[in-house]
Symmetry: C2
Subunit: 159 residues, 2 copies
């Protein structure tokens, strides 16, 4: 029955949308030379490794927090990664965990208010859109770093 089932976006499509962005961000990490990933920046901004620290500290801890209703504070201090390969490995682990935890969200859950990281009290859908937007925002900055390094970034529409 169409009117019962109709969604602006289904949970499955929103997950694919997020993971599509995450796959693109992974390609941006790959595009950085090892040294520049940890050292290059513009205008006093964070390096792309530091920005990736933030993205990793948000995605799985944020989603598992939502699912488990845990409001642990935000932290980027879990472990210190020093090679790009470690970032890519952690990225792939996060991909699998996100896919697993996503299945535990019902449509109603997206409308529940949740105090993310004990600090951001918003409906779950807004928290998740923030995860995605924040990643697109910082990845856009990574594109400028790559261009400034004379490296062609991956196509934005390739997911």
């Amino acid at each position: 029955m169409k009117t019962l089932a109709a969604q602006v976006i289904t949970p499955e499509d929103l997950l694919n949308h997020w993971q599509g962005h995450r796959a693109l961000t992974r390609r941006v990490i790959e595009a950085f030379p090892e040294k520049d990933f940890f050292e290059f920046s513009i205008g006093g901004m964070r390096t792309f490794s530091k920005l990736t620290d933030e993205l990793l500290a948000i995605a799985v801890p944020g989603l598992t927090g939502i699912v488990n209703k845990e409001t642990k504070p935000f932290t980027e201090d879990s472990e210190k990664l020093i090679f790009k390969a470690q970032y890519l490995e952690k990225w792939d682990e996060a991909t699998a965990i996100i896919n697993e935890y996503w299945q535990k969200l019902s449509i109603e859950d997206f409308n529940e208010t949740f105090n993310l990281f004990g600090q951001y009290e918003f409906p779950v859908i807004q928290n998740i859109l923030y995860f995605i937007d924040n990643e697109v925002h910082h990845r856009g900055q990574g594109y400028v770093y790559l261009r400034a390094l004379n490296i062609e970034p991956p196509f934005f529409w390739e997911r």
Copy 2:
């Protein structure tokens, strides 16, 4: 009845989400010095005025195309703006038109496939998420331009 009404995201909240991003982009345009808006760039990329041309050429033409089921090709050549104030004025006109046309979309419409600009054949929801993501992506680049110009950008979470 909750199960009938429950949405991952409602059309109204998705509109607010988009317009929140557009309000932030407007503040980024405002933050640029007049000259730098038209001339500054990094690594051979487009200036922020050129990026704004693209955003303006997507938002209203894209949404009205979806609503009117018109597949006119994408073009940025509608008119040549030469002052930041003209961009801000056109931005505000777009804000009002988006609000108006959004009301014509039913929940079912978001799942219809549409050949955007006669070129991108996807469900409407994917087209609209692309409008938003593309704006966040390019605005993130604008943040780097501002930082390189030693200008503090607006807070990302301020909508």
